[in-house]
């Protein structure tokens, strides 16, 4: 029960921030995909950079555990590209579709219904996928620092510098 309550509160905070950052809208999502308006990229990269520092700090202190998804080339690459194609058509992602509905953009209802159907179709296809695509190039639960054999703090520093350079470029170009 407490877990469910944490989920609800966390979701409310995140939904509030997504709306305040104006990243829920179709125009913002397609704006990024058309390289016209980088609002969602600014939001995402900011969240990732802050999260990186916090998660790795807490992990180093032994306070949290990482939860890494397997790098299965077939699943991640083909699934990722397929997701991208659908995302370009829908203009919302699974999380933001609910947020978009929350701010009244109700074309998202059709996207949500479509996603429920997509999930149902995947559930039918899962046994086949498990025997084929999901066996292609399984490298396990690997992180970038493990693959490169360097300290995670070195990579985090590089990501932060890279992120700041990217942000400066966006602001200069008025994206």
């Amino acid at each position: 029960m407490t877990t469910l309550l944490y989920g609800l509160i966390t979701g409310i905070l995140f939904g509030f921030l997504l709306q305040k950052g104006r990243v829920l809208r179709y125009d913002k999502q397609l704006g990024a995909l058309r390289l016209l308006d980088m609002t969602i990229v600014k939001f995402m990269v900011s969240a990732v950079l802050v999260g990186m520092v916090g998660i790795y700090l807490l992990n180093d202190l032994g306070l949290v555990k990482l939860s890494i998804k397997s790098m299965v080339v077939g699943g991640v690459v083909l699934g990722g590209l397929t997701f991208g194609i659908g995302w370009g058509l829908l203009g919302y992602c699974p999380g933001t579709s609910l947020g978009a509905l929350g701010e009244g953009r109700w074309d998202s209802i059709w996207g949500i219904l479509g996603m429920l159907c997509g999930a149902a179709i995947y559930a039918e296809a899962y046994p086949t996928m498990k025997a084929t695509v999901l066996t292609w190039g399984d490298y396990g639960k690997v992180t970038l620092p493990q693959v490169l054999g360097v300290s995670h703090w070195l990579l985090i520093a590089i990501f932060i510098v890279g992120g700041l350079v990217l942000f400066r470029w966006f602001e200069r170009k008025g994206l």
Binding site: G7, L49, G86, G111, M115
Partner: protein
């Protein structure tokens, strides 16, 4: 922090605060952000109404049981949070067709809705195949420097940019 002009916050600020919320979530509840598994569970809940025995035997619904969990409530929370933020700032607006879409493809509702529905189905199939969406892979995966998260994020944008170009590219319909 600068304002966006329409009462919104800077995306850098809102994004950084979201990063803090996700750290708090992992620390306090041990939960990383994610959204797409919730659609699997919900689809299972609907199917269970019609054929509970079949659902009980399907491997994917055994793996992702049709029950309400942390993430399910998280996704409901996103709806509530966005509702609160938009209604208290005057930016809530009933809109059946997004502005950018309407400018290029006209105000015909069923066209937008059909594309949204088909796009949603394709997106979710892909998200489940990749075992994550922009929340699970893009945010949670990337912030843990997971190779899967970073690769998935690149693929999401690659696929999305190709489609955006096909839909809007060339600017033939202005």
């Amino acid at each position: 922090m600068k304002e966006n002009g329409d009462g919104g916050w800077s995306p850098y600020l809102a994004g950084a605060l979201s990063g803090l919320v996700s750290i708090g979530s992992v620390w306090i509840a041990g939960k990383y952000f994610g959204a797409s598994t919730t659609f699997v569970r919900s689809a299972g809940m609907v199917e269970k109404v019609f054929d509970p025995q079949r659902v009980a035997q399907m491997p994917y619904f055994i793996k992702e049981a049709p029950v309400i969990d942390w993430q399910w409530m998280f996704v409901v929370g996103i709806f509530i949070g966005a509702l609160i933020a938009s209604t208290t700032s005057g930016s809530f607006r009933w809109q059946a067709v997004p502005t950018m879409w309407e400018e290029h493809f006209g105000p015909v509702r069923w066209k937008r809705w059909l594309v949204a529905f088909v796009g949603g189905a394709i997106a979710m199939f892909g998200a489940r195949l990749a075992s994550g969406c922009p929340s699970g892979h893009g945010l949670s995966g990337s912030m843990q420097l997971a190779v899967s998260g970073l690769v998935a994020l690149l693929c999401f944008f690659a696929g999305g940019m190709i489609v955006a170009r096909m839909l809007y590219g060339g600017g033939e319909k202005q």
